[in-house]
Amino acid sequence: MSAHASDKFVYHEPGLQHQFEDMKQQEESVSIGMWLFLAQEIMFFGGLFTAYLVYRSRYPMAFAAASNHLDAFWGGLNTLVLIVSSLTMALTVYYAQKSNRNMQVIMIILTMIFGAVFLGVKGIEYTDKYHHGLVPMAGLNQRVKADKNAHHETEKPCWEVDRNAPPAVHPNPRGEFLWTDCSLAKLAQDENILTPSERFGYYSGGQIDIEKFKGIVRIFYYLYFVMTGLHALHMIIGLGLMTWLLWTAWKGNYNSEYYMPVEMSGLYWHFVDIVWIFLFPLLYLLGRHFNH
């Protein structure tokens, strides 16, 4: 057959790899490969979702309290941005199939802009966590010196903290993880809806222990940073793919005969979007009704 080494000077279709007989075989192979890669990705994120679900089902109140400090506005905006970027990505594939080079390039640039906006918003959110002592690793938060002249507030029990007040900046000389509010645990205690894990996970000596509560809030933020961080890493890899795609599309490589790389990059891009579609409600929305 045509692609054997013995007759290697036979005309090849552009983009056809040596091991394939024809374009159709190559397209099928690449496509199955990409879907399997995405299956692998689902299992990879699946481990994280499992960890999230286990802890959330054990400690719904701590998770609701922690979730309340994520800004659903920014999260929602990012969801919108990503959904629109999926549209522009889908249009990229469409215009590649129509052999329309200029529209391909425009759509890829738009997709990249939306991707960058997403990462920018994520940066705003991470900075906000940095300022409010919500990064779970000690030393990675903003260091705020204790103000010696300030009027020393009388320590209120943690369950009397107003959870709907705007987040304040507390003294934090070592940049540690800060958390002072356990009012949701109190609420659950009063309503008698504590889970068995919560019954011993929040209490020491019959009293709600803010340190124990804080430990679980910290687990939420740990999961938040790992999940969104890995997702952002996938976005950055996606932007790298898009840069390459932009370059090759600019050269006019893709047309109705050959557009596999566009379609495969699109699959990857949509997958990363879908991960966010799950992350957003789990991290930002679940449990908000306890607060409002």
């Binding site: 080494a5 007989e21 690449v30």
Partner: protein, 557 residues
């Protein structure tokens, strides 16, 4: 028929370029996209790791020769058994058959020019090297003492060893395994030659398909688990370490969700090789082809549902344990289906006791013991007595060494003439096969008894009354070690002094025997067209074996 032409090609006057002679620079090896060259590089690499793991094993057995902990300190002993496990499992057993034999043979067996994604294949080799190098760096720096399972809090609070480096090595190596599996599935789906239908595939290919499924769906879970442990160690925050509010049982669930299926990553390819050996060296069509094929898939699927049987005494709910125990028993069914079908294939076969077949039959015996002892361990009552004893150690060595390593050696001998074009010494081959079988049983059968007597695993010292059986075990390990080292000598010897093997030394109908030895870079001169069933020893398989035999017996040249 064209396949006869291909057979003849080995006897033609002008020497043709094969995959070994087609480019001899270092660059032509390191940047190759040829699956066969990648397989050879894997072969060398896994052999190095196997040797290192073997040295650790020898050290363990030496230490256990005497009841006191005299050769090694207990802390050093912890590192030795941990590193034995890590090297053997992640860097030898998991890549051995898929990455070496699978890489080499899968495209040839289905009549393809290469794997579907050759660059990805090369990438997975480099990931393997990178992961291996990082893990070795960790071992050189001071090693790990957590046990190969990295249980928290051993791997978090209480470990001062290089868990991070080794964890990163395993993480990277995992992606090598994922990409290999991905490549195999794509290749089997899209690269089959004309006429090579699903039910004409050699059973080795079915096993590779099943094992690839497990690799793709299981490995990412352990990757994320190892990543979380690494972050937990660096950031001192996490979900696994009880000291900071985490749950070690969650770690065990996530770890075994991969690492139990990983057992099937290790043994399924062995079953695939043995299916080839048993049928081909009995000169008989395999009994129950479809059953063996689907039992591979069934093992892969059920393998994902039994991880909890590693956690019967860890504090998992008793109801979960009952379900896991039941499902563990269920896995025995597809494994038994294979055993019965192999036995039925042997029945009235024309059995040829060549070296590969000796390994194949050895596999059947050893895997039988490995599988049956697994049933004891799967029973929730009995397992309380046997957990963390040498019974467990012996059980999984029967499956991994008695199963996988023996099958790997069998496969290596079986396809060696194809890979190198040279025939090794049959006498030394048979001798080493028998030494491995005897040495293995002598090493590990006493351990079954020791475990039943209650000798715990992972201790450098033991009560003096257990010494006799331990001496047996160490003596057996010496025999096993010699049996394993011998192939290194006579296989390497055969490369230079071995007789030319010819294209089809075993006179078999499989597609890999219808090309020259060693195969050309593009595997076949012409695209093969498959018109015969798998393991068809009849007249109508396009292969005149009698003619071939006469020609081979005639003096060459």
């Amino acid at each position: 028929m064209q396949s006869a032409d291909v057979i003849g090609s080995g006897f033609s006057e002008t020497p043709k370029l094969n995959y070994l002679t087609n480019g001899t620079t270092l660059k032509s090896w390191l940047l190759t996209k040829d699956h066969k060259r990648i397989a050879i590089m894997y072969l060398i690499s896994v052999s190095v790791f196997f040797l290192m793991g073997g040295i650790y094993a020898a050290t363990i057995r030496l230490e256990l020769l005497t009841p006191a902990s005299d050769l090694l300190e207990t802390g050093t002993y912890n590192k030795v058994f941990t590193q034995h496990g890590i090297l053997m499992i992640f860097f030898f057993l998991i890549p051995s058959i898929p990455a070496v034999l699978g890489n080499f043979l899968l495209p040839i067996m289905i009549g393809a020019k290469d794997l579907a994604l050759p660059r990805i294949n090369l990438l997975s080799l480099y990931l393997y090297w990178l992961g291996g190098a990082i893990a070795l760096y960790g071992l050189m720096q001071g090693g790990v003492d957590t046990g190969w399972t990295f249980y928290t809090p051993y791997s978090t609070t209480f470990s001062n060893s290089y868990v991070l480096a080794v964890g990163v090595g395993i993480f990277i190596n995992g992606f090598s395994s994922i990409l290999t599996g991905l490549n195999f599935i794509v290749t089997i789906h899209t690269m089959r030659a004309p006429g090579m239908t699903w039910f004409r595939l050699p059973l080795f290919v079915w096993a590779m398909y099943a094992v690839s499924l497990v690799m793709i769906l299981g490995t990412p879970v352990v990757a994320i688990t190892v990543l979380l442990v690494a972050i937990e160690r660096v950031a001192r925050v996490g979900i696994f370490d009880p000291a900071i509010g985490g749950d070690p049982i969650l770690f065990q669930h996530m770890f075994w969700f991969y690492s139990h299926p990983a057992v099937y990553i290790m043994v399924l390819p062995g079953m695939g090789v043995v299916s080839e050996l048993i049928s081909n060296f009995s000169r008989k069509k395999i009994f129950g082809y479809e059953f063996i094929a689907f039992s591979s898939i069934a093992i892969a699927v059920f393998g994902f549902l039994v991880w909890g049987h590693h956690m019967f005494v860890s504090g998992q709910s008793i109801y979960a344990s009952m379900v896991f125990s039941f499902l563990t028993m269920v896995v025995a069914i597809p494994s038994a289906i294979k055993m019965f079908n192999w036995t039925a294939t042997l029945y009235k076969g024309s059995i040829d006791f060549s070296t590969p077949m000796l390994y194949g039959l050895g596999f059947m015996g050893l895997f039988l013991i490995g599988g049956l002892t697994g049933l004891y361990l799967g029973a929730i009552g009995l397992t309380v007595h046997l957990t963390d004893t040498y019974y467990v150690v012996s059980h999984f060595h029967y499956v991994m060494v008695g199963g996988q390593v023996v099958a790997y050696l069998g496969g290596l001998h079986y396809w060696w003439p194809k890979m190198t074009g040279k025939m090794y010494s049959e006498f030394w081959g048979k001798t080493s096969a028998m030494l491995v079988f005897v040495g293995f049983n002598l090493t590990f059968f006493p351990q079954l008894i020791l475990g039943y007597m209650g000798m715990p695993r992972r201790y450098a010292a033991y009560p003096p009354e257990m010494q006799v059986l331990n001496i047996f075990s160490t003596a057996g390990a010496s025999v096993l070690g010699i049996g394993m080292l011998m192939p290194v000598v006579y296989l390497l010897h055969s490369l230079v002094y071995g007789k030319p093997a010819g294209d089809n030394p075993w006179r078999l109908p499989g597609l890999e025997w219808r090309t020259s030895s060693p195969p050309p870079t593009e595997n076949f001169e012409k695209m093969p067209v498959v018109t015969w069933e798998a393991y068809e020893f009849g007249e109508d398989n396009g292969l005149d074996l009698e003619e071939d035999r006469r020609r081979d017996l005639a003096p060459v040249g």
